[in-house]
Symmetry: C2
């Protein structure tokens, strides 16, 4: 039973008036107390009180339940917090992976209500992806009891730069057949929902900002170490998309202009040396069979010196790449994501040492409050899909409209 | 005769109400027509008309003179534009150079009213700089007939990262003795004015944004090629300062971790190979006497193949460094500044070729509107001093207060 009033609020993005600002804050942050709303919005406490009273009367906001199923870091807070009324609608996040598609649905209070995924063959087409996504959404609605009509939008996390306004995939390194795809044209007819789209690393950054390691941080760098290296730049809680959707592609900064050829068409890109892909290749040679990132880390933890060395070497190069990002931005916070983070100190010790060695403003020479904090992300496997939900909640990357 | 009303407007930064927004826009952009104000502020044309009528009545805004002495790109526009009343006050910009100090004063309509400079010995102290600056400001006031009481603030462009809130110089590569200097503590007692401070490249970017090659662009990268390489990141018309003031230090991204030792303490920094410093060293060896950047370019233009080659080689490496910045940001615009730009195509052809070769999203594969534009800056020698004036007009980097 979505309220028309709330739908209007959610869709119109009334930035100017106090009620619009409060609803926008709750949409982005899940649950907040009146004091937190006043602090984050800059509104007077008395204004917040009267706005909340009005919004409660019209059932647009409700008390947050003490313990939600949400992955919010705020779960378990006392009952003074409010959220948007979960009955008002739900958002869908879709992650397009190289061999799988995943759909997460969350209501507007940020509670996760469904999580479905399916294996896909290599090089599946965008059209197939749209049809499979539609089925996954229908299954998610059926399982969670949410009406199809209550969905307010779908966010799509794409493995490649996406133009922020047209939704066109500019280059798709991981899934080359998707290059040039118009995400809206392919997904809108199947899903019949407002479509939001962005690069998967940008989505991961949004997940960390809304629910993870960057909650409360307005400015940070996201740096993902996995089979490749990706990233995102967040300024004033907004992901910088870049002119053609290419911002944050740290993995393709050139380390060695005469190095190996990269899938992107350049040579010697950072991710050729600093991701876990070369480690897996060398480990496969060592063991005579291919292994996964998880197995590499497991063997390293079990004491295999070769596997430990491979992770350390990748971390050393990744840290050098991250140091260039640190020199360019001098950010207050860097959130490191991706499956490599499961290696813990085995990754972070050499990565931080290398970062500090090569960056301009070194952590070691600064007082505590001026040191760039480098922390592990909260999510690894499901970050981009959660972040795709966040695209809808933040109204970021709405295809066919100016970005918010 | 500065109006108290306007002083209040200028100092309080009333972002919320329409008059405050109009004054803020005029402070930042100099002269604008009513239509331009409506476009840039998002206010209705009727609102702009009534706000302007009221501001005219209280003599806060006046008609822009058709041809001003300002360096504004808007000089010579028809008389429909308005500016802030120049009698309301003036701002001072100070550029701290390795061997000179320069002071430019401009009124709030953006017209330059004085420009003074003085040679300084190498390694002069901050205390000496403050005293000399005071004298230059007094001379500027005397020459231009502006009362000392009409000054509303002084911006200081410093050759090193400056902490955006404390005004402390974090590292001073060009003038090592300034490291750790508290700009406010040194300059405020001498100047008795609100002090704004930022890194010189950040100031240059502000000059290009207010009066130069980036007028009308909300997001761009500034990249300076001179004796070193510096830069700045502008997002939504704000210069990103970084946690400790180090953002935009592109010249210290590591190209070769085993390379030459840099003055910053790292090895193989971009500026060791991509600035004109190595070119000048090699040219000095060729000619048996040291030459300046201007002489190098002059000889190259006169056909000296060695000098041409030295500029091309620097441009090739600078373009590779700029490509990393391009990969990280995918910016709509890059403004290239510094004295190297005087070489024209001799610099820009190899620089653009190298940029396109090494960056991820290549200009050559994108339609025109998705190509990163790379243009020469409008200013070379006086950009950081003009930008220091801009610090005051934009209220950016006010020391001892939260940045705006």
């Amino acid at each position: 039973m979505p309220s028309d009033d709330l739908r209007t609020f959610l869709e119109e993005d009334r930035k100017g008036d106090p009620s619009g600002r409060v609803v926008r804050l709750l949409r982005e942050r899940g649950s907040l107390s009146a004091a937190e709303i006043a602090r984050a919005s800059g509104l007077a406490k008395s204004t917040v009180s009267s706005v909340l009273a009005e919004l409660r009367r019209s059932e647009i906001v409700v008390d947050a339940v003490a313990k939600t199923t949400s992955r919010s870091s705020r779960a378990g807070r006392p009952g003074t917090a409010v959220t948007l009324n979960p009955r008002a609608g739900a958002c869908v996040g879709v992650a397009i992976g190289p061999t799988d598609i995943r759909v997460i649905a969350a209501d507007v209070s940020h509670a996760i209500i469904a999580d479905q995924s399916v294996e896909m063959p290599l090089d599946y087409s965008p059209q197939t992806a749209a049809k499979v996504t539609r089925r996954l959404i229908e299954e998610a609605c059926a399982k969670s009891g949410v009406s199809r009509a209550a969905l307010i939008g779908a966010g799509i996390a794409v493995p490649g730069p996406v133009h922020p306004e047209t939704g066109r995939v500019q280059r798709a390194s991981m899934v080359p057949t998707w290059a040039g795809t118009d995400i809206r044209r392919v997904f809108a007819p199947e899903l019949d929902l407002p479509i939001f789209a962005d690069n998967e690393s940008n989505c991961s950054a949004i997940a960390e900002m809304l629910w993870g390691a960057a909650v409360g941080c307005d400015n940070f760098i996201f740096f993902k170490v996995d089979l490749g290296i990706g990233g995102a730049i967040v300024v004033d809680r907004r992901v910088i998309t870049g002119l053609a959707g290419g911002a944050g592609e740290f993995g393709h900064m050139t380390l060695d202009p005469a190095g190996e050829l990269c899938i992107c068409g350049n040579r010697g890109c950072l991710e050729l040396y600093g991701s876990l892909r070369p480690a897996l290749r060398l480990a496969a040679a060592r063991f005579g069979a291919s292994i996964t990132i998880e197995e590499l880390i497991e063997r390293a933890n079990a004491g295999d010196v070769g596997c430990r060395r491979l992770i350390e070497d990748a971390a050393d190069v990744a840290g050098r790449g991250l140091a260039m990002v640190g020199t360019a931005f001098n950010p207050p916070l860097i959130v490191v994501g991706g499956r490599a983070t499961a290696a813990g100190d085995l990754l972070f010790e050499p990565l931080l040492r290398s970062f500090d060695r090569h960056t301009l403003i070194k952590r070691s020479e600064m007082p505590e409050h001026l040191r760039t904090r480098i922390v592990a992300g909260t999510f690894t496997a499901d970050d981009s899909c959660l972040g795709a939900v966040g695209l809808v909640l933040k109204h970021h990357g709405r295809v066919g409209e100016a970005r918010v």
